[in-house]
Symmetry: C2
Subunit: 725 residues, 2 copies
């Protein structure tokens, strides 16, 4: 890619961004779009706009985002979101602090040399060398003393990264501890999940078994237990019931709407009972739904009874009367045989994946390794379908198979743009499919909580992007073919990477620019959700509930957002010294990201769970992994440049590894388990244990009619309600 | 070594064994030797011999040892000893069960082949090939289908090992759980050691800091705390005081003894106060000692006060009112910053290494790695100092530096012997010092308990013996030179080992025989302790206390005994299929060992600590490591034999590794921490918490005069003695 093509791509991206910004300014000012641009505030019962009355300033969101504090973010969106901003802030800090030194020092050093002419054959394939590369390390004569500047720059960037990572880890640890320490009553702080309960002894119910076991160990603080049941059947019936309830509401709304003054009795909606409502007997919808609802309600009740009685599994939720007891129980070894009575601290009720709780100890281990192997295979051989698709989606091919774009392709500007973007777009589309698959596979591992599954999926996605996109694109060709090359000499990987890096600098500059201009532009303007919402509102939604469903924004999408950002971190870090020009792009990416997502977090997204910052250790380790990749690449690249002092770089990857080790020792355990000192402070209110207990009953099992004696089989009785002073 | 030389060595060893057995039969029958042969029974207040009255049968010890149960061992010598016997029993079981199949099958298969003639050049250096080797795999023609028998034998030996290891781990886990579950009050079950207490906040004493921290978390179950102090000074004074007390007792005994009828007033003993009592002023010993004792007692008291007030460190012992609270506190994370307020379950008071408790979290980590590096260097390069020392300790040099041995060296016989043995003696001295050195280094790591330090030292010793003795002897030359060879092709190590193994079979047969005949003969007859005791009794001991010190037997010596046995396990396992003749020797070693040590454990040794079987996971892992070494060697050896089905062996090392993994998951955590269910059963008596607390006060700090208000600075007050219902 030459300079003009790069500038075209950059300009196009910028123009798209400006258009999207203007669109946002217009669209968000219309009160009818409030539910798309301010859903989080609306759901929290707040006025859509902070300023309240007065004419809206189309750019006020910027000052609002800038003036918002971490406390605001926590209040509106929880600790997890605050941790995500801490991540953005840390990376931004690293890039800004590195850039302040690297840009003014390295660019002049690089541009005043002319080494590229002499060593272009050895380090950079001549075809790709262009004006931009004159600003990079590729332009330095081999063995030149100018390389000292780059060596010191590597030290500076590493030092800044480690320093800021340390500060952030400390800060996040404090955030977590403060949140857990809060005097608010949180149900999950009183409960513990027990798995791998041994087989029932003769003549005992599961409930008695669990109760007697825990009451012996915790005579003072044990409250009661809830046996985990196999809810597959009951969930199915419940969902069907809910479906009919919605249908009924919709039919009633349609019926109401049909009562025009001209036709006051209205038209009763009808539907067919067969496949997709297209075939079968035609019935009156309202009557049919009512009938079905009554039928299903009875069925649900009897199924609930059967489930609670007969579908009990070898897992349970155990409730304690105080937080310290639960926090302590969650991290203690209970049984001499460690694969029985395993415990972990309960997550929020909405996070618990009930269907995974019954999987046995070694079953989980086994599943984990099987999934790891499958993911590793996916990571290694994913390039096969990608290569196939990219070969297919060249402009020529597209014109051949999709003749209707031919006239478009004749416009020269459009053609340039399409040719510039098509490979990138193919890659982006592919990356979009993967996260769901990885989340599904993570759940297959037997992970018991939603947030944990998201973290696991996000980790897998990170390895995928870094290995395939970054290393794959850099080294050229697939990982698989790279590995075939490397197999002969495993030490070659670093020097191979180092040799290929400078040649791809421009590609990644474009990639980052596309990501932030177009990606964040779309993010802020919410064009797609807006269109979908308006379409749904116009043609589909009949009831309030349906409307709400149509604009409900979902959460920030941790699982994909973090690995995507992490790919940028890896790219920018790895190029920071080799081609420092990438640093401003990185700063723009994370700066814009911070600003736009701050707005989105405060006003749009609704978090779907709260894990109190458990994501941070993963983020920290992955930034560190990127940093170490950068450092190793630099060691290799200095070797390629035949710089005799290259071994002076060896202490930095070592100290990065040591840093990771110290972090894991000092901070990590407090993210695995709640520290007791954090659970000890007293609560604001006396906890309502019954309510805490009830909050964990899944919706399909709870019902107005269901009372305690209904639950007697799976849920133990309050034994000493008088003792709960 | 040829057959006749082998038989000579075997016979000699056997004769020595018989002589030692007879000596034991004679000597142990004399009541005057009871304190050497039955000290454990005497110290437990039992009659030296089980049978009580009647004439002693010189071989009754055998039937007594055979009829003793595990319960007897636990009662007389504790869980740790029982675990050691479980180790012997397991290995014995593995060898017997393997031998039953391997010996009758493999020996005929080997002896009827004559492959050695054809392939002696390739696999065995011709010089060492002899009649015994005809019974080994070295005698099999390459590629022969007879190798199937050896392959199946490898499977059988591996299966038997894993099966018995599994059973034993389960059994030991039960032993540990029963011991911890026992309703006896054990002080260590009520205490927790806290390290890394953060710096004192303004205006608080250490005691207040600890008390307020733990009282917040455990309002119900916290009892009190004991701050760890720097006892170096006070220990020194206390030891000096104890020394003078002993001296006084001795002088008084001497004075009493000098009062003969002819000289009724006796002679008051005198001594000189200077260096070693050889120079200086001559004083009356009794008077001098009394003076010193009074002086030191006053000094001790004031030093105790200073220590308790001013030498407090950042560690403490924390006591709880019940076992579950202590067990739970010992395994919970207390602080958000994991390098502060770290806890572990208190060991027995006698095991606590006070001087290591103040070392900080990362200081411990650092020390650990430094020690590991030093030990690794010692293991790899130990031959360098030895070679240096042997070079120095030639007879010539000795005569030069130690002129007084010149006349001795003139005797020809002595000269020959000295010249032949000096290098070996240097090696033996080094090997004798090594365990102490390793224990010292393990304590340098900052390990806080005696038993843990012994385990760590024992692990290091295991690696030393297996790597240096086994691999060193097999491959020939030192590890260092081997590594230089292997460096060029790391895959070679297994095949190198496999090639060299058969040639050394006879050497190891002799080694094992020597070990069990002479080693266990000396063990049972206790010749050395007997002689030392009688010499001391005659010439040195004047008081009862001194006499008791002279015969006090010490403990079983876990730290060196286990690695030494493990070396035999490694040798026998690795040769079990290659040269099955070694199996009977192994069976004899562990059979005799079991029998003789059973006697010693029941009657002689006094355990110096009790760790409730924490040694087992280490033993299990090391047997497993030996097994995997065996399996890998076999894979290599089948390769050397050009057996095309050799890859069929690959599943067995993999399943062994899996086995280790499953064990570590299923059993190990319960050895790290007490499981709560084990601590939950109620106690026989109501625990006397004050007594439990006092049992942890080190002797140098306790005194009759020292009462609670003396301790007020370092030891917190009982706060709610009324609440301990």
């Amino acid at each position: 890619m030459d300079l003009s093509s790069f500038l075209t791509s950059l300009t196009t991206s910028f123009v798209i961004f400006v258009v999207l910004m203007l669109l946002f300014a217009c669209l968000s000012a219309r009160p009818g779009n409030n539910v798309v641009y301010y859903p989080n505030r609306i759901l929290k019962g707040l006025d859509p706009e902070e300023s309240g009355s007065g004419i809206r300033n189309p750019f006020s969101w910027i000052s609002e985002a800038l003036s918002s504090t971490e406390k605001d973010v926590i209040a509106m969106s929880g600790i997890d979101t605050a941790v995500y901003f801490e991540f953005l802030r840390t990376v931004l800090g690293i890039l800004v602090l590195s850039g302040i030194i690297l840009l003014p020092v390295l660019l002049p050093v690089a541009i005043t040399d002319n080494g590229a002419m002499f060593n272009s054959n050895t380090t950079v394939s001549t075809g790709t060398f262009n004006e931009l590369d004159r600003l990079s390390m590729a332009n330095i004569t081999v063995k030149s003393p100018r390389l000292w500047a780059f060596l010191i720059a590597t030290y500076w960037a590493s030092f800044v990264s480690l320093y800021l990572l340390w500060k952030s880890y400390k800060h996040v640890s404090c955030l977590r501890s403060e949140a857990l320490r809060s005097p608010e009553v949180k149900p999950e702080q009183f409960a513990v999940v027990v798995r791998d309960i041994p087989p029932l002894p003769e003549g005992q119910t599961r409930k008695e078994q669990v109760d007697s076991y825990f009451r012996t160990i915790y005579p003072e603080t044990y409250y009661r237990s809830m046996i985990v049941t196999d809810n597959k059947e009951v969930n199915k019936i419940w969902e069907e019931l809910e479906g009919y309830k919605k249908k009924l509401a919709r039919a009633e709304a349609v019926y109401e709407a049909s009562k025009t003054p001209s036709k006051p009795q209205g038209t009763r909606p009808t539907n067919k009972t067969g496949f997709l409502g297209l075939v079968g007997e035609k019935v009156d919808t309202i009557g049919h739904c009512n009938e079905k609802i009554n039928e299903l309600a009875a069925k649900l009740e009897s199924e609930q009874k059967v489930t609670l009685k007969e579908k009990q599994q070898n897992a349970a939720l155990v409730f304690f009367t105080d937080r310290v007891a639960a926090a302590s129980a969650a991290q203690c070894l209970h049984a001499q045989m460690v694969d029985t009575w395993t415990v972990f601290d309960a997550p929020e009720p909405r996070q618990l994946i009930w269907s995974n709780l019954h999987i046995k100890f070694f079953g989980r281990e086994l599943r984990q390794y099987v999934v790891y192997i499958i993911v590793a295979l996916t990571i290694f051989f994913y390039m096969i379908p990608i290569t196939f698709i990219s070969a297919f989606t060249t402009l020529k091919n597209l014109m051949k198979y999709l003749p209707f774009i031919k006239p478009l392709a004749r416009i020269t500007v459009l053609k340039t743009v399409l040719e510039a973007y098509l490979p990138q777009i193919a890659l982006l589309v592919f990356l979009a499919i993967l996260p769901k698959l990885l989340l599904f596979m993570s759940k297959l591992e037997g992970i018991p909580t939603e947030s944990h599954a998201v973290r696991a999926a996000s980790g897998k996605y990170f390895y995928f992007t870094v290995l395939n996109v970054f290393i794959g694109v850099t080294v050229g060709g697939t990982l698989f073919s790279t590995f075939k090359t490397i197999q002969k000499n495993p030490n070659q990987i670093v020097s191979l990477l180092a040799q290929k890096l400078p040649g791809n600098a421009t590609f990644f500059l474009t990639f980052v620019a596309l990501k932030f201009f177009v990606g964040y532009g779309l993010e802020l303007s919410r064009i797609v959700p807006l269109i979908i919402y308006h379409l749904k509102r116009k043609f589909l939604c009949k009831t309030e509930a349906e409307l709400k469903e149509a604009w409900f924004p979902g959460d920030l999408g941790y699982g994909t957002r973090v690995p995507a950002d992490m790919l940028i971190v890896t790219i920018v870090l790895c190029y920071s010294v080799i081609a420092p020009l990438i640093i401003p792009f990185g700063v723009l990416y994370f700066g814009l990201g911070w600003l736009i997502l701050r707005n989105q977090a405060l006003k749009v997204y609704v978090p779907s769970y709260e894990s109190y910052g458990r994501m941070w250790p993963h983020i920290n380790n992955r930034i560190l992994a990127s940093l170490i990749l950068f450092q190793l690449t630099m060691v290799g690249y200095f070797g390629v440049q035949k710089f005799v002092y290259a071994p002076l770089l060896i202490p930095i990857p070592i100290s990065s590894i040591l840093f990771g080790f110290v972090c894991a020792k000092k901070f990590y355990p407090a993210f695995q388990h709640p520290a007791l000192e954090v659970a000890a402070p007293s609560l604001k209110d006396h906890p309502n244990l019954e309510q805490i207990f009830r909050s964990f009953i899944p919706p399909s099992l709870s019902s107005d009619k269901v009372d305690d004696d209904h639950f007697e089989d799976a849920l133990s009785q309050v034994s000493r309600s008088t003792s709960l002073v």
